[in-house]
């Protein structure tokens, strides 16, 4: 999977690239408007991470060019502005999602995964991880083809973990993913623990290997290694 990161902030684009590479994405970086348009003209990407405020132009114009050229790339807007207008305009111009800065990298990765899944697989909407499979249309997860009876949060959690497999995800990132930033759940880690405990129990009951690892109490990792 090939991803273009259009972001003028070097440290942020480096973080994104480092994280996504570990999940086996191929990443390229464009630091400004011109570099981005050149790269888009020359290559095809599966997903483009697009910052709206670039030093020499607006990310929204890149979006317009993509639309004009009928390019099929999935686009995730990452913006510091987080304004309703930008969000609406971006989505109307054909962006697939909008992620306001600052975000957690696992969140970014999960969004990218969802966009690519929607764009590339066409009819195939099943995600697999060893004996676990998820039908993302019906929103049902299976273990060894036995359906798992997961709550909405547990389902979200499983999807999130698989999108970030082999990575340590902090409790803060999990909390934000499950409850959003409005609910201010930041310090209520007990709830995360409860959900993870239940998810793990349900997976093991259906004969799954225990993939969930707690990492020093500060985060979790979904891994088969």
């Amino acid at each position: 999977m090939k991803i273009l990161v259009v972001e003028d902030e070097k440290e942020l684009s480096m973080s994104i690239v480092t994280y996504l590479k570990e999940i086996n994405y191929v990443c390229e970086v464009a630091m400004d408007f011109d570099a981005a348009t050149t790269k888009i003209d020359l290559y095809d990407y599966d997903c483009i991470l697009l910052d709206i405020t670039l030093p020499d132009g607006s990310g929204l114009d890149i979006l317009r060019q993509l639309k004009a050229k009928n390019k099929m790339e999935g686009v995730l807007i990452i913006s510091a502005k987080n304004s309703v207008e930008d969000r609406i305009e971006g989505l109307q111009l054909g962006a697939d999602d909008y992620l306001p800065k600052p975000f957690h990298l696992p969140e970014l990765s999960a969004r990218v995964e969802a966009i690519i899944r929607r764009k590339n697989f066409g009819g195939n909407t099943t995600i697999c991880f060893n004996e676990i499979s998820i039908n993302t249309i019906a929103k049902v997860a299976y273990c060894n083809n036995n359906p798992l009876e997961l709550t909405k949060k547990e389902y979200q959690l499983l999807l999130y973990f698989i999108a970030n497999k082999e990575r340590v995800i902090s409790k803060n990132a999990i909390a934000e993913h499950l409850w959003g930033d409005e609910m201010d759940m930041a310090n209520n880690y007990d709830f995360i623990y409860t959900h993870i405990k239940n998810l793990r129990k349900k997976l093991i009951e259906k004969g799954s290997t225990d993939y969930l690892r707690s990492v020093y109490g500060m985060g979790y990792k979904f891994t088969d290694r």
Partner: protein
């Protein structure tokens, strides 16, 4: 006291004092002058009588005219002396007592001493004085009414530009972004006042805009460094040592708080800039129910018993804003609650109230909606209720806070102000 009343009062008191003093002075001066005139006349009579006596060695006839009488009477030599006095005599013709001026002086004819008395009526003098006093009194009244009229109408009109300026200033609202429009005045002082006031309010508005823009920009600019810190933390924990975990978690939490704080400041700036100005009809009952579902975990987690009494109410308001408002009120009601406490939500067509058990505030309750005002044990941002207030303000809703029977009550009146 109003300027005009104060001014009128000074005016009236001064005028009355001066008029009173002057009328007394007037009265006595005129009276003295008139008496002197009578005394002169009396002296002329005296001289005539003395001349007659010197020529004839006999007393002239006593006379009794309407305003002048001359009488003689024999007295002992020893009591003879000259005097001028005021007296009251009975006037048989008019059948009443009238004031007279009397000059008595001794006359010696051979060995006998007589006292001659010349009486002169003061009735005319009194009449004159009365007339003068009457004119004075009339003038007095005319003057006072004039002062009153002038103060009331002329001064009122003169000061009108000032009152216009004052009422415009009262209406002045920083959030309204409108420059003060003051009418021109022909009076230099008021014109100068208007210029100064306009200059000042323009400056204040400008500074306010700059400050707002600063908060806005500062918050925006902070998003990117925060994004970098977060992303680096997310990478760092992939290969962290166990000994670093506590510090990393602390950094995570602090970054989270900073992010939240920053986002809330941005939100406040956006509400301030009317970026949430598209109202739509929101089914409040449904929304409240959804919110309670969303917070269900938190509510149950704390063993809190929720109670509702919700009626079907729709409200025209921006959907994002009402969502944030309910979020803040509800998370507040959960956070500042006891384990096993209660939350009660009542929604009627006129108001929405959220009541929760909880310990009393550690600060003055009138400051509860101020930014960064929070209890000593609160781990919130201190901005949640400021946001609630702001949202209510821009939507012309009134929000009230009460602490009754160990319960915090937030009440939003849904009838717009």
């Amino acid at each position: 006291m109003k300027l005009l009343s104060k001014y009128s009062r000074v005016h009236v008191i001064t005028a009355c004092t001066i008029l009173l003093i002057s009328s007394f002075a007037y009265y006595f001066i005129i009276r003295t002058i008139l008496l002197t005139q009578i005394d002169k006349d009396l002296k002329v009579e005296e001289q005539e009588i003395l001349d007659y006596v010197a020529a004839n060695h006999a007393l002239p006839h006593a006379s009794d005219y309407k305003h002048q009488q001359i009488r003689f009477r024999k007295i002992k030599d020893s009591v003879a002396f000259r005097e001028t006095i005021n007296t009251i005599e009975y006037d048989a013709k008019l059948n009443e007592y009238e004031p007279y001026r009397r000059l008595s002086f001794p006359i010696k004819i051979t060995n006998e001493t007589y006292e001659a008395s010349v009486y002169k009526s003061q009735v005319e003098t009194e009449d004159l004085l009365q007339l003068i006093m009457l004119i004075t009194a009339v003038l007095f009244i005319v003057l006072l009414s004039l002062i009153f009229v002038i103060n009331r109408f002329v001064l009122g009109k003169l000061w009108q530009p000032f009152f216009i300026t004052l009422s415009e200033l009262k209406k002045f609202d920083l959030h309204n972004k409108q420059s003060l429009m003051l009418p021109e005045s022909s009076i230099e002082e008021f014109e100068e006042l208007n210029r100064s006031v306009t200059h000042m309010t323009d400056n204040v508005s400008k500074e306010f805009e700059i400050l707002k823009a600063f908060t806005d920009n500062a918050s925006h600019e902070m998003q990117t460094p925060l994004a970098i810190i977060r992303s680096k933390l997310d990478l760092l924990i992939q290969s962290a040592y166990e000994t670093q975990v506590e510090q990393l978690q602390a950094i995570y939490d602090a970054t989270g708080r900073l992010t939240k704080l920053n986002q809330t400041l941005l939100l406040l700036a956006k509400i301030d800039n009317n970026q949430y100005d598209k109202p739509e009809f929101v089914n409040l009952k449904a929304l409240v129910e959804i919110k309670f579902q969303q917070f269900d975990e938190l509510i149950k987690g704390k063993g809190i018993v929720p109670k509702y009494d919700l009626h079907d109410v729709s409200l025209s308001i921006n959907k994002d804003l009402i969502d944030i408002l309910l979020n803040n009120l509800l998370s507040n009601a959960i956070r500042h609650n006891y384990e096993g406490g209660s939350i009660e939500c009542i929604l009627t067509s006129s108001m929405l109230s959220i009541t929760n058990t909880g310990p009393a505030l550690t600060f003055d309750r009138t400051n509860i909606f101020d930014r960064f005002k929070k209890g000593s044990h609160s781990d919130g941002s201190g901005l949640g209720l400021a946001v609630v207030k702001q949202i209510c303000d821009v939507n012309n809703l009134k929000v009230k806070y009460q602490y009754l029977n160990t319960k915090h009550i937030f009440q939003i009146s849904l009838k717009t102000k």
